[in-house]
């Protein structure tokens, strides 16, 4: 069986979530790699949009910025941030891929501060377009390495909405109906959210990882699906496309 690293696994698993004929709003790095991989393996009609204005580009390589000139290379439209967010707000964009410094059991994300907002221990970039994408796009996907520092009981700051306090709290908040976190893809497992409580739930384990590992590397109690799958490792095709076409310089998948 082919060797692969955990980033290659996460990107491959993430790419499989993106259905052909749907649209995804992505940032730079791993999410963009997953979208590019999906386009080249089974979802040629996946529409990629970048918050700065690029619509459906033919990406010649990984962008360094969601506004750099790669993001509208041979695009259908080089528009505005307003155009992109309006597509999202109107329900045209099916998925978004996000990450963050912290995530909680409801899939809420922190990318703003560690410590008190008035005098932060660490200041992060803030929402950027994450809060917008997570508010408007139908399904939010999160790709992140898993550990107890990242997966926390309580966020220092709720930057980007997941299921908020769980249950029907998201819908009650006023955010568009039918939107919310869909799957969390870590270096150990895939989680979804239990339909009633909206709590994070393990649905699939990556090769070599046990339920125990996953729980030990999480700062809150994870629910477990009735039947837990084994994550399919990256296929030969996924790996070769990822390594040769998507990220030949291994910016994202590393060495």
């Amino acid at each position: 069986m082919t060797e692969y690293n955990s980033m290659e696994l996460m990107i491959s698993v993430a790419a499989r979530e993106l259905k052909n004929g749907s649209a995804v709003g992505v940032g730079t790095g791993a999410p963009c790699a997953a979208a590019m991989l999906a386009q080249k393996v089974g979802a040629p009609n996946l529409v990629i949009v970048f918050e700065a204005g690029g619509v459906s580009p033919e990406l010649p390589e990984m962008p360094i910025s969601v506004g750099d000139s790669r993001t509208f290379h041979k695009a259908a439209l080089a528009g505005s941030m307003g155009d992109i967010m309006e597509y999202c707000a109107r329900g045209f964009v099916d998925y978004t891929f996000l990450g963050g410094a912290q995530i909680d059991m409801y899939g809420n994300l922190n990318s703003t501060v560690i410590g008190d907002h008035a005098a932060p221990k660490v200041r992060f970039p803030g929402s950027g377009g994450a809060n917008d994408f997570a508010s408007f796009c139908w399904k939010t996907l999160v790709m992140t390495p898993q550990n107890t520092r990242r997966f926390v009981e309580k966020l220092d700051f709720l930057t980007t909405p997941g299921w908020l306090q769980g249950g029907d709290s998201r819908e009650k908040s006023g955010l568009p109906e039918g939107t919310g976190p869909h799957k969390i893809i870590t270096d150990m497992a895939v989680m979804d959210f239990e339909p009633e409580s909206k709590r994070m739930r393990i649905i699939s384990l990556h090769p070599g990882h046990s339920l125990k590992d996953v729980q030990e590397n999480c700062g809150f109690e994870l629910l477990k699906a009735d039947s837990i799958e084994d994550t399919l490792p990256p296929t030969k095709e996924e790996l070769s496309v990822l390594r040769e076409e998507v990220d030949p310089y291994r910016y994202v998948i590393g060495r």
């Binding site: 749907s22 695009a75 259908a76 707000a89 139908w138 039918g178």
Partner: protein, 330 residues
């Protein structure tokens, strides 16, 4: 946000963004060949009782061929957005296509005078009316495009236009100023005429955009009629020039001179003689009936209509009148 006052006009469309989102969610994002003839496009996407919007500005970059086809196919009981509706409305009135209308500018053909046919129909009692203004309707489309149920503006207040609108006056939570809240307008179907489009529906046009970008975004279905098809490579070479991306579009119809007898900027100017003939013929019901038979009902295509009114030579004459092509040499 309790409204302080509200207009008493009927609201013909649903401003709810969540219901609209469910429809937009279902729209296919795949790049597929959407080219079809106009007859097929109108049959497939324009239905009795739906709410219709026509792009352009009255007799400028207006999908006239599509208006003829809608009348030819006998659509009825439609809602219509009378957003600077001039020659387009004149055609649809002749077919009594609509029975309710959001009014900003209707009946008139601007400097050319008023349409007897449109006026008679509007005075017939067959049409429900809500009053707005040009900018109000633009903002209503923009609200829909933005996926919000309303947008605030500072026009309309203090007038009967407001009183006969379906707008509401609210108080600003920051400045306590009064503002008009304009409800989002999501047309069921819009038709927009452009200079160039590819087979997927990526479309572009030159000159003023009027309200067509917001209209394209707000409409649940969209038919593009285009002077000519271009290859997708040309779109991808210059994505800055794209005005409407393909995933908003349901049908692409190549209709050369599709805005005739109106103006298509950079292509041909309006046929003022023919537009005058329309206005004249409308005054005599029998003559007008025959005129419509001749020019719409007995034509199977827009090309036939143009042939009857001078054909290629007429088009060349109108191109010579289009100063965006000819101004330098005058």
């Amino acid at each position: 946000m309790e409204p302080l006052v509200q207009g008493k006009g009927p609201l013909f469309t649903d401003p709810d963004p969540d219901r609209a989102r469910r429809i937009f969610r279902k729209k296919d994002r795949t790049q597929t060949n959407k080219v079809m003839n106009l007859k097929k496009a109108i049959e497939s996407y324009v239905h009795d009782g739906e709410y219709l919007a026509i792009g352009g500005f009255g007799a400028n970059r207006t999908p006239v061929a599509a208006c003829h086809e809608i009348v030819r196919q006998g659509r009825k009981k439609m809602g219509f957005v009378g957003h600077t509706a001039t020659h387009d409305m004149q055609i649809l009135s002749a077919g009594e296509v609509y029975d309710r209308i959001d009014v900003a500018y209707i009946i008139g053909l601007e400097a050319r005078g008023l349409s007897t046919c449109s006026r008679k129909y509007m005075e017939s009692g067959k049409v429900k009316v809500t009053e707005w203004t040009n900018y109000s309707l633009t903002m209503r489309l923009k609200a829909a495009a933005m996926g919000v149920p309303f947008l605030p503006t500072r026009n309309l207040m203090g007038t009967d236009t407001f009183a006969h609108s379906a707008a509401k006056i609210v108080q600003c939570p920051y400045t306590e100023k009064k503002l008009v809240a304009l409800p989002a307008l999501y047309p069921d179907i819009a038709v927009i005429h452009v200079h160039e489009a590819d087979i997927y529906g990526n479309a572009r046009f030159k000159g003023i955009s009027v309200s067509d970008i917001d209209l394209a975004n707000a409409s649940k279905r969209l038919i593009i009629t285009t002077e000519r098809l271009i290859h997708t490579d040309e779109i991808k070479r210059d994505p800055t020039s794209t005005r409407i991306p393909y995933f908003l579009v349901d049908a692409v119809c190549e209709v050369p001179y599709g805005a005739y007898p109106g103006t298509m900027p950079y292509e041909y100017f309006s046929d003022e003689d023919h537009l005058k003939e329309w206005l004249r013929k409308e005054k005599d019901p029998d003559a007008f009936k025959f005129f419509l038979k001749e020019n719409i009902y007995d034509c199977s295509t827009h090309e036939e209509y143009i042939k009857k009114n001078g054909g290629t030579q007429k088009i060349l004459d109108l191109r010579a009148k289009e100063l965006l092509l000819f101004s330098e040499v005058r």
